[in-house]
Symmetry: C2
Subunit: 269 residues, 2 copies
């Protein structure tokens, strides 16, 4: 069965988007289409040009006998700008304010349109770093962590608040939640993380950074390294923040409970 160029381009685009960050040997495509490697190389060049022009990501071509192509996702500056602004608008809606000055964000982290873009934004920041695993703590950060892991083509591991029989042996630590100064517990299944792993920490919200700091302590127990930290929303925090280096998509810069006003600005991403 022979494939026309148009079919090859559609199939390859689909394949590359489904396999981010993986080296795909050109021979795989050549076999798939019964095409010469030179034709496949030309196809790749066309896709590369279009992807990079449109800001979908970059295509890295690897020359030689073991040659192949690797797709690294990204989000165009224009889309990032539009996305950040619409997120800022949605988060500023006054009815998000909950008693105690908390913000209702469950709909945001449950919206695949938002989560997909956030996953790509974080992934794009770390495609050139060594990330073996994405980690988050239950519950609201999970979709974001999964979306990021999916774009980086690495597993996601989930830290829990309590141990469960289906997790096997676990490692547990206590930590001080930054803003509430309360002692809390975090648990991670022993076999879910290999020693020496490079771990990208993703969460939905960071105030003083106590929870993120807890995850960092947990990583120490596994002799694992922090490859990076990404949070969707960071809150302004008057006291010293416990975490230094991180990316945030947006920043909650002012919450006025009395006036029901929420001010959201751009984050550090």
């Amino acid at each position: 069965m022979k494939f026309r160029r148009s079919e090859r381009l559609i199939d390859m685009t689909h394949y590359l988007l489904q396999h981010p960050c993986q080296i795909v040997p050109l021979t795989l495509f050549a076999d798939r289409y019964g095409a010469a490697k030179s034709s496949v190389s030309e196809d790749v060049a066309i896709i590369k040009e279009t992807f990079e022009q449109r800001g979908f990501g970059t295509l890295k071509t690897i020359a030689g006998a073991a040659g192949g192509v690797q797709y690294f996702p990204s989000v165009s500056d224009e889309e990032t700008e539009q996305f950040t602004h619409s997120l800022m608008n949605r988060l500023s809606e006054p009815d998000r304010l909950l008693p105690g000055g908390y913000l209702y964000m469950t709909d945001i982290v449950g919206d695949p349109k938002i989560v997909k873009v956030v996953g790509k934004l974080f992934a794009a920041k770390f495609v050139n770093e060594k990330v073996d695993v994405v980690m988050t703590v239950a519950t609201k950060g999970i979709p974001l962590a999964y979306a990021t892991a999916s774009e980086l083509n690495v597993p996601v591991v989930i830290v829990r608040r309590d141990s469960k029989v289906t997790e096997g042996s676990t490692v547990s630590i206590n930590y001080v939640s930054g803003s509430m100064k309360r002692i809390q517990t975090m648990v991670l299944s022993k076999r879910s993380l290999q020693e020496g792993s490079n771990v990208l920490i993703i969460d939905d919200f960071m105030k003083a950074g106590g929870t993120i700091n807890g995850m960092k302590s947990l990583l120490e127990e596994f002799n694992a390294n922090v490859a990076g930290i990404g949070v969707l929303v960071e809150a302004e925090h008057p006291e010293e923040r416990l975490v230094d280096h991180y990316y945030s998509v947006v920043k909650l810069s002012e919450v006025n409970i009395k006036e029901k006003q929420i001010k959201v600005t751009k984050g550090t991403l």
Copy 2:
């Protein structure tokens, strides 16, 4: 700026894959490429043919002035077969056995390669039903639920075991876990689910079906309807199952703790 056909095909393929189940007006593409609607229609026909031949999904074209195209994801029979077999093999690994006959599955539900396919398999079963929301209960089902929701282009809502201040007002129910006969609690944020919603329930594991049944009771409190149920793994259960209609990807048909043997067969999908 004019676009060549090859560029249009790559861009449209990307766009459609990023926007599953959404009606995309042909005028959007025509404007995007500065192309005639007739050229765009031809492009769509080529993509439709390739997608359907390769088993990526179907493209529905809507004629008329408000005409457009809608991509419904699916997984080819060949890929489904390969995927199910490799999942059966991975789940049969003897070292997954935990005390009490439980199975360690955390790595499976944390692997984006697996989760992505499962999401598509479930979505493909329900693209023609009315699904407004995908629901799961924390924690391990969340990546699967998110992946399914993402392919169906609907939000995901997460039921929790305890209420949290960041969820606002909640509705809570008690239910009897089927296999352990223990009374447990489930909580859902009030504003996360609209009355009358059609809800697809997704979970990682089902034994007697108590947890799924709990979610069904919770839906009654919201006057919401069950649009369907999908579980990754169902366990053989000697007693009466509490849930009748569901899809499962695989079935745990035998767990022999003494011999360390796990037998996994195909599910009902």
